[in-house]
Subunit: 255 residues, 2 copies
Amino acid sequence: MKILITGIGGTIGSVIADALSNQHEVTGIDIRPLERDGTVVADLTDIDAISPLFQGVDAVIHLAAERRHTPDIGWDLLLPTNVIATANVYDAAHAAGVRRFVFASSMHVVGNYENDEPWASIAAGRYEGLDPATVPLVTADMPVRPDGRYAATKALGESLGRYYADCEGMEVVCVRLGTIADSDAIGDDPRGYVAWFSHADLAGFFSACAEAPGIKYEIVYGASANTWKIYDTASGWKALGFTPSDNAEDHRSKS
Amino acid sequence: MKILITGIGGTIGSVIADALSNQHEVTGIDIRPLERDGTVVADLTDIDAISPLFQGVDAVIHLAAERRHTPDIGWDLLLPTNVIATANVYDAAHAAGVRRFVFASSMHVVGNYENDEPWASIAAGRYEGLDPATVPLVTADMPVRPDGRYAATKALGESLGRYYADCEGMEVVCVRLGTIADSDAIGDDPRGYVAWFSHADLAGFFSACAEAPGIKYEIVYGASANTWKIYDTASGWKALGFTPSDNAEDHRSKS
């Protein structure tokens, strides 16, 4: 397959590109110059500049985004990158006949469920009285509850994907990503034991997103097989035929 | 109450403003000059220009939008009016401490359910073998299925409303509107017998959206009490304490 990755220079893009390059022809777009072969510097808000790059592509993995998601993040930052660029990447992919589209969404799209119990306790690392085997999970078909403007723009990207899947026959996978660190570490935030997505699982998961047969439209949660869950990761693994190998709990300090 | 209506010069805005003016102080913003008292000409993409107009307002009814929703409607038209303007109106309302926000969404947000049975038949006026009392309904908490880019922008407006309700305590009602004609007619499209929203019901419904107590966040379907339904209108009437009085079926030609 020929796979085009937007935002290929970021943490996620680098991990995925390295893994996919073993079996596929990987090209990339980034706003900054990179040393990676097949990478083009382009601004995704310029559809005329980027459209030729989608010719002959089998699968697009759209990662490029404004990553800051604090409540005060402004539309001046979100509009070009998370709205216009995403609209353009869908349009360019559709115009070029791209079959598979993988959209990097975020757990923040449903992040406000984490204000409710038992999820608030789990995110805060307060496990007393809770059994991880019986905790209810936030599924992919529950109403969105974006925790900010950033998250609302990710919900827009999911909505556009649903349109292209329903009306244009594009195969779309929206990945509501958890937490991925440059260092692959879980970090000090107890929420990391919910949301951690190891680099190894990340690479295998996105390969499955690009390769899995029988996809029409899927919203899947992107995290490792962590003991403490808030989101229904397992349904996505089943849809994608993917088996994760990491669990944040295995890396918890026992002190 | 002091109620601010954006897009007050449109069909819906005119009907609502006439009705609300009996009991409330109604002001309005429109992109075109109007003869209606209290109406200001302003461009909603200019947040500095519009922000002062939200001071002291109790409820905003945000109707202003690009209305064209054909599949080929471009982002050049949708971005300023349905994305930037909507983001600005939410921001300006929040900054001014507006309590109630009514967002004019659209049935198009879930419009692709109308490709599935039995809804496809109902929308096409093929009722054979169907009993309107037992038809399953598309509810407010089912996943969005936007039927185009226009609809995806309306889903964004709903997502933003959910954020402001969940995180900022704003009371938000998103109205997934059916069909409203200048003439109040149902028209020739058999889908009108599903989606028709009479001017009388429209006025009462939006009054309830502005006035109903106990609202946190609601997605409601905006249509009259039509016999042939696709959408769960009744849950919205209950949440708003509203009783519609019209039914498209009573106006069907018996020829």
